[in-house]
């Protein structure tokens, strides 16, 4: 790995300032960025660690919504979101393995927007709001295709605000070697309707399955979507599963999500 200068500011303002340097990049849990740097796919001149900023860590209830700091580790969400938003806690507790969950953070996961990552599904299905150092971004505007988001250079995710659904579930079909989602579906039922987000399936990254949302908003039962199907064009095809396999898996997992929503 190429060398770099390491800085660890203790406030968001200082971090934003540090990130304005030539070649600077944010480091959160490092569970994606370190392997990327070892492969020399990233070679920042300055790494700005975000995990020393106390006010971007933790989970709290805020006006009936669940607010999660950008530098909150997956293990912390798995524990602390449990009584407020159990499906979100389940998702966080199923990411990778315990050591990955000790370090990896929600902000890093969302900024990275891996097409097989778990958190994007929760954020999109919850209609959550992503807070940055300079603005708030609706989930529907945030994810812009594989590894692409609405973030500008040097913009830091400081938190995510999740409206709490009546019921929800995340159902992940593990890719057992990487432990990412081969396909994963997050189903969330709100008073205003049902939202369904699918990860791991589309080459464009996480997406909403609006046809299923309409059917489930009318009747929140697995039977309501049994006759629907997702087109396989644009789905990921690799040695783990064909495009048609993933399209079918998304439908099956949606049904399981509806059945197990809590």
């Amino acid at each position: 790995m190429h060398n770099f200068d390491f800085v660890k500011p203790s406030s968001v303002a200082d971090a934003v300032r540090a990130l304005s340097a030539q070649g600077a990049q944010a480091l959160s849990g490092g569970q994606t960025l370190l392997p990327t740097m070892k492969q020399r796919l990233a070679a920042p001149a300055v790494l700005v660690s975000l995990t020393g900023i106390a006010d971007t860590k933790g989970v709290r209830l805020d006006k009936g919504a669940l607010s999660v700091g950008g530098a909150t580790a997956h293990a912390v969400v798995a524990k602390e979101a449990r009584k407020h938003y159990p499906a979100l806690a389940d998702l966080a507790g199923g990411i990778g393995d315990p050591a990955v969950r000790s370090r990896g953070t929600i902000g890093g996961s969302l900024a990275n927007n891996d097409p097989s990552a778990c958190y994007p599904a929760a954020v999109l299905a919850s209609g959550a709001t992503i807070l940055t150092d300079r603005r708030s971004i609706a989930a529907d505007d945030f994810f812009q295709g594989m590894f692409t988001t609405a973030l500008h250079d040097g913009e830091i995710i400081t938190g995510v605000v999740f409206p709490i659904p009546e019921k929800a579930a995340y159902v992940k079909f593990n890719q057992p070697a990487s432990r990412f989602a081969l396909t994963g579906v997050f189903v969330a039922k709100y008073g205003s309707g049902v939202r369904v987000a699918v990860t791991g399936a589309s080459a464009n990254g996480v997406f909403r399955w609006t046809e299923a949302e309409r059917a489930l908003s009318a009747s929140f039962t697995p039977a309501a979507i049994a006759g629907l199907s997702l087109p396989s064009d644009g789905m990921i095809a690799d040695l783990h599963g064909s495009a048609a396999y993933r399209a079918n898996l998304a439908r099956v997992l949606t049904g399981r999500g509806v059945a197990s929503a809590h």
């Binding site: 790995m1 190429h2 060398n3 770099f4 200068d5 390491f6 660890k8 480091l27 490092g30 569970q31 370190l34 392997p35 740097m37 070892k38 790494l47 660690s49 995990t51 293990a75 990778g96 393995d97 315990p98 050591a99 990955v100 000790s102 370090r103 432990r179």
Partner: protein, 161 residues
């Protein structure tokens, strides 16, 4: 080079590191604590797991400078004060939870993190928790038994000898 200070196995330590120095390199090359193994160096095998402020982390996937000031515990800190094997280590020996031993430091550190959080795990909880620790020798069965035994549970009932 920057000087980094932390506590390792209860002792204050310091050393000069680069930005890119991994915690695993600082422990092994800087401090000579070669009990922490580097199996894959790609965040996948768990051989390098140590505790940072009580939590299991892959030391190959953390920069030393990012854990400045933290309390780190490695496999060298798992033995009893008199040098005899700690409870988990002894259980690995008793139940043949290792063959080549390469994965063992990470297995023991992950097991210790599990038992600190969940002192009486079920067999399936042990298997699930150790998902990030890969062993190419044992087939895991005796590792699971060792962890259950270390938790003070009866392992006679654990199937498939």
């Amino acid at each position: 080079m920057t000087n980094v200070t932390m506590t390792v196995n209860g002792k204050a330590v310091s050393g000069d590191v680069e930005g890119r120095t991994l915690l695993s390199s600082f422990l092994r090359e800087g401090l000579g604590l070669t009990g922490t193994h580097v199996g894959c160096d790609t965040s996948q095998c768990g051989a390098c797991v140590v505790h940072v402020d009580g939590k299991p982390v892959k030391s190959c996937t953390v920069f030393a400078l990012d854990v400045a000031g933290a309390a780190v515990k490695t496999i060298e800190g798992m033995a009893n004060a008199d040098g005899s094997l700690g409870v988990i280590q002894q259980a690995f020996q008793d139940h043949h939870g290792l063959q080549c031993g390469f994965c063992t430091p990470g297995m023991v550190m992950s097991a210790a993190a599990l038992l600190a959080d969940n002192p009486k795990p079920t067999e399936s909880e042990v298997r699930h928790y150790l998902e990030g620790n890969i062993c190419r020798c044992t087939g895991y069965h005796n590792i699971v038994k060792a962890v259950l035994a270390a938790s003070g549970q009866d392992v006679a009932a654990v199937a498939a000898e």
